[in-house]
Symmetry: C2
Amino acid sequence: MTRVRIDLNISLDGYTSATDHSPENPMGEDWGALTAAYTGTRTFRSRVLGDTTGTGTTGVDDAHAAAYFDNIGAEILGAAMFGFHTFPDDPEWKGWWGDEPPFGVPVYVLTHRAPLPDLPMAGGTTFRFRSGSIEEVLAEAASSAESQDVRIGGGIGTAREFLCAGLVDDLHVAIAPVILGRGNRVWDDLRGLELSHKVDTEVAESGTLHVSFTR
Amino acid sequence: MTRVRIDLNISLDGYTSATDHSPENPMGEDWGALTAAYTGTRTFRSRVLGDTTGTGTTGVDDAHAAAYFDNIGAEILGAAMFGFHTFPDDPEWKGWWGDEPPFGVPVYVLTHRAPLPDLPMAGGTTFRFRSGSIEEVLAEAASSAESQDVRIGGGIGTAREFLCAGLVDDLHVAIAPVILGRGNRVWDDLRGLELSHKVDTEVAESGTLHVSFTR
């Protein structure tokens, strides 16, 4: 049975980064503090960085990192997560994920620029551009995922659209114990999420708090 | 060495309750969800309710509840926490803490109505009304606490004044895994608190997340 999943890295005060982007620091200067525990895991180092030496943390953070990559059959991204800034004017531009994006599955990109031709990439990723409602795109993504899950990959605006519409089965937040005081707010308009979902809480060796909402 | 301490019960989205007061529900309808784990502890039942039967939870929540009551030599409260609404017009009104308030120590009440005479109560509590700066009142409270600690007992506005002024040595937040979407915001203007304080995170059997900032 396909489940709809979201994973977020947030601060104790409920922010994701991304309002302090700059050319020098495209992810924003707060991104490192939010993701240090995750990017330090053995799974991240192996799966994303291609580090085959076995370095990186194991334990609770790594278990969540491994679960993140498990059983995803399709992904949905907001337009900014594809990186439309020169596409399709520059026919060579294929998003900012490089020649071999890390998805390996169909990736549905929500954009009013659709229809656009599919964009097959090396490694099994195919970008598919859609302008329908989130429910329509989710139905298509779920169908293409077959029995595997659909991840809403971001950004936070897209993730919150799916959350606020009640479309998410599994929300996992990794809370870094830092106070950012700025960024994109995650929790607005989600009062009572603990009533529709079961909540599990866990602390990692790094001090990161992992909270999982499951229905 | 006197330390300045604050304990808060907050939601995952960073709210304390208290914006939904009503005559029928003076603490607000969200208060129960925020404090259920705490009021269920054996320490709370014994210390606050006078339950001598030994019922209530033990474990992580109870350890924090016991620490809450330990080594406090003076307390500071905002005016609303004393309950000024009929004082001093009604000479019988002595705050809403009853004839024997649960403090048992000098309690400094921040109020522009001062000077007012001290109000000694049964059980060792004396209310002392002060209109000076928070630094001045803290200095006096610390002196009267001798080597014990001073608790900033609330409300959240008063707690945040001390936090934002950098006057707090120990902040313990018990985070109930619920999304309230309303209430008083705890974390505003506290960016970087993790840089001036060491942070410890812990999960209780109840699912409550305990985060302690210590310097």
